[in-house]
């Protein structure tokens, strides 16, 4: 049990710094998810009516995911420098796929008769989109956001390599100092922190889902 006692002591000892990292990590991932949602839903809205457009958008978003995050970061650092900008860009790009895909699935899953009735009784195109189509696609979009957040939790560790904020800096500095005092504890604290955070955020998603899905379409 000794290593865990040590880890516990380490965490208590460095709580001020660690809690800041936890906060920064969360904030980075949440912001990236929100930004990816705005962009992803926008793309979804732009393409969902056209099967070809939908296929292209989904393929592009998938292509991003096939680039290793490290490589993508390496490509971005020369352009954007070190710090928040390249990490955020990578996170948003990776977060797009589940959100774009789920937005398309959600919007094209809306019963055409419902949309026809909405137009037919005199709702404007914008109202139909916001009050009917997006409202009905919302559970799917939220599910996409949830997947994105989970993914970004881990990827945010990697992109901290570019001197981005968050628990990744703990992991990296622990790994680079391997062998020296507390190095393992530092890496472990960072890693476990990410896992715990991911679980907490997932729980929050369940609550959001519960309270934002209208009763008429809740399972």
């Amino acid at each position: 049990m000794a290593p865990f006692v040590n880890l516990w002591e380490y965490v208590v000892d460095r709580w001020d710094k660690l809690s800041l990292q936890v906060w920064l990590h969360t904030s980075e991932v949440v912001q990236a998810t929100l930004l990816a949602t705005v962009i992803g839903v926008g793309i979804g809205i732009a393409v969902y009516r056209s099967p070809a457009g939908s296929a292209v958008a989904t393929a592009l978003a998938s292509a991003v995911l096939t680039i290793p995050s490290f490589a993508l970061l390496g490509l971005l650092i020369p352009v954007l420098g070190l710090g928040v900008a390249p990490s955020m860009t990578v996170l948003v790009l990776y977060g797009l796929l589940p959100i774009v895909r789920n937005t398309i699935v959600g919007l094209s899953g809306v019963n055409p008769a419902v949309v026809d009735a909405a137009r037919g009784i005199g709702m404007s195109r914008f109202s139909v989109l916001t009050k009917i189509e997006l409202a009905l696609a919302w559970p799917a979009i939220l599910a996409g956001m949830r997947v994105a957040t989970q993914m970004l939790m881990g990827i945010a560790v990697v992109v901290a390599y570019a001197k981005g904020p968050g628990l990744g800096s703990e992991v990296f500095s622990g790994l680079t100092r391997a062998g020296s005092a507390n190095a393992t504890n530092q890496a472990l604290a960072g890693t476990l922190g990410v896992v715990v955070l991911a679980l907490v955020l997932d729980g929050i998603y369940l609550l959001i889902n519960r309270y934002t899905t209208p009763r008429g379409i809740r399972d």
Binding site: N111, A113, A117, A118, G122, A135, G216
Partner: protein, 417 residues
């Protein structure tokens, strides 16, 4: 038996002023005219609707009927500009629809479709309230209107107001769909196979209710169906459409049944045209007989026996204190009877003067003979006999074969009384 509501084809109308408002304040129908309307979908060589010109009279139900793919839906959707005509003019109440903002135009036109298309994330009340909200009504007025409409379409306010669409049966969803279409009291109602997806019994009920509503509301209703029987039942006028919405015949159901314009229409009308005409005739249109012996429920069995033997009639019809028929009693039941309230057998079927001859025929077949007919308050009005119906069918058939039936009210008026 069934309480079939007055067909709207009887020509009785509420008084209304020039603005198309009935005496009770609801908006009544506006005339719709289509002039040389054509729709060519991009990428298709032949037009889906080719040069259609027709007038849909104010306050009437006009049915567009024709085979699948003939352009009924396209024609109807051009009226509220869900589809823009390629050429031609459509006017509602004299106003060119192209001169209006399409969203605003649609808020003044009720729209009901086959799968109802209710918003699944809105309650029944919220679904109905959409258009009034768009029109900026205040909350109190909207709430009152929702309750009034639920009542109008036969849904209990307490039970259904706060339900979600998925908690309703198909027929109930259609009722809500109709309520939503009527919400802002539009002069015009477009209905695209609204009862196409419900079971036959529910469909029959919904059709009866639509006729009842229309007899109060006098909207201009454009109703699309591919079911000719539905067209006959509901239509004041029927437009039988062929390819590209070509109007093969546009006339009253009576006239189309009696004299189909050509073989295509005749084929569409189908077999048993004269039987179908029975659904157009009401019991009040034919002669009732007064030969049945009627007795009061309070009379003594002995007195009734006396009456029957005097009239050489084996049966007497027992009427209750409000003169509603309630039982048949046979002479041989009487010696053992203590009271007319229990003697003989209760009536299984009664038809009213409002019932169709079809209903009366069914009742007669069930009863095995003449059936008592009741008037407006349920009081006894006479009996209807199988021979009367057979004579009526014969007359109709002669007219049909002779082809001498006139347009508008041909077949029916001749038979009246």
């Amino acid at each position: 038996m069934t309480d079939v509501t007055a067909s709207a084809s009887t020509g009785e109308e509420l008084p209304r002023d020039a603005a198309g408002t009935a005496s009770d304040g609801t908006t009544t129908g506006a005339e719709i005219t289509l002039t040389n309307v054509t729709k060519r979908y991009p990428g298709s060589k032949t037009p889906a609707v080719d040069d259609v010109t027709m007038t849909i009279p104010a306050g009437k139900i006009v049915i567009l009927v024709g085979p699948s793919g003939c352009g009924k839906t396209t024609t109807m959707r051009m009226i509220n500009r869900l589809i823009e005509p390629t050429s031609g003019t459509i006017r509602i109440g004299g106003e060119d629809t192209q001169s209006l903002n399409p969203d605003r135009l649609r808020r003044k036109i009720g729209y009901a479709i086959q799968q109802a298309g209710l918003f699944p994330h809105f309650t029944v009340a919220q679904n109905i309230a959409v258009v009034p909200k768009l029109l900026g009504w205040d909350k109190k007025r909207i709430d009152d209107r929702v309750d009034e409409l639920l009542d109008m379409v036969g849904l209990d306010v307490g039970t259904f107001r706060d339900r979600y669409p998925r908690q309703l049966s198909g027929g109930q969803q259609q009722r809500v769909g109709v309520a939503r279409a009527l919400a802002a009291d539009p002069p015009v109602l477009l209905m695209d196979e609204p009862f196409g997806a419900v079971d036959p019994i529910t469909r029959g009920n919904l059709q009866d209710e639509l006729l009842r509503l229309q007899s109060e509301l006098h909207k201009t209703i454009v109703f699309v169906t591919h079911d000719f029987d539905e067209a006959v039942k509901l239509g004041d006028k029927i437009a039988v459409l062929g390819e590209a919405s070509k109007i093969l015949q546009y006339d009253t159901p009576e006239a189309i049944l009696a004299t189909p314009a050509d073989d295509t229409v005749a084929g569409f009308v189908g077999a048993g045209a004269s039987l179908k005409q029975l659904t157009l005739l009401r019991v009040r249109d034919v002669e009732l007989r007064q030969e049945a012996v009627t007795v009061d429920i309070d009379e003594s069995p002995a007195a009734v026996r006396e009456k029957l033997s005097r009239s050489h009639n084996p049966y007497a019809l027992v009427l209750d204190r409000r003169r509603r028929p309630c039982r048949w009693v046979h002479a041989r039941d009487l010696p053992r009877a203590t009271s007319l309230a229990t003697a003989g057998k209760p009536l299984r079927d009664v038809v009213s003067t409002q019932s169709t001859l079809q209903d009366a025929l069914e009742a007669m077949l069930a009863e095995g003979g003449a059936v008592p007919v009741t008037g407006p308050q349920g009081q006894y009005a006479g009996t209807i006999h199988l021979e009367t119906v057979i004579e009526t069918i014969q007359t109709l058939r002669e007219e049909h074969n002779g082809g001498d039936s006139t347009g508008a009210d041909g077949g029916t008026q001749q038979e009246a009384r």
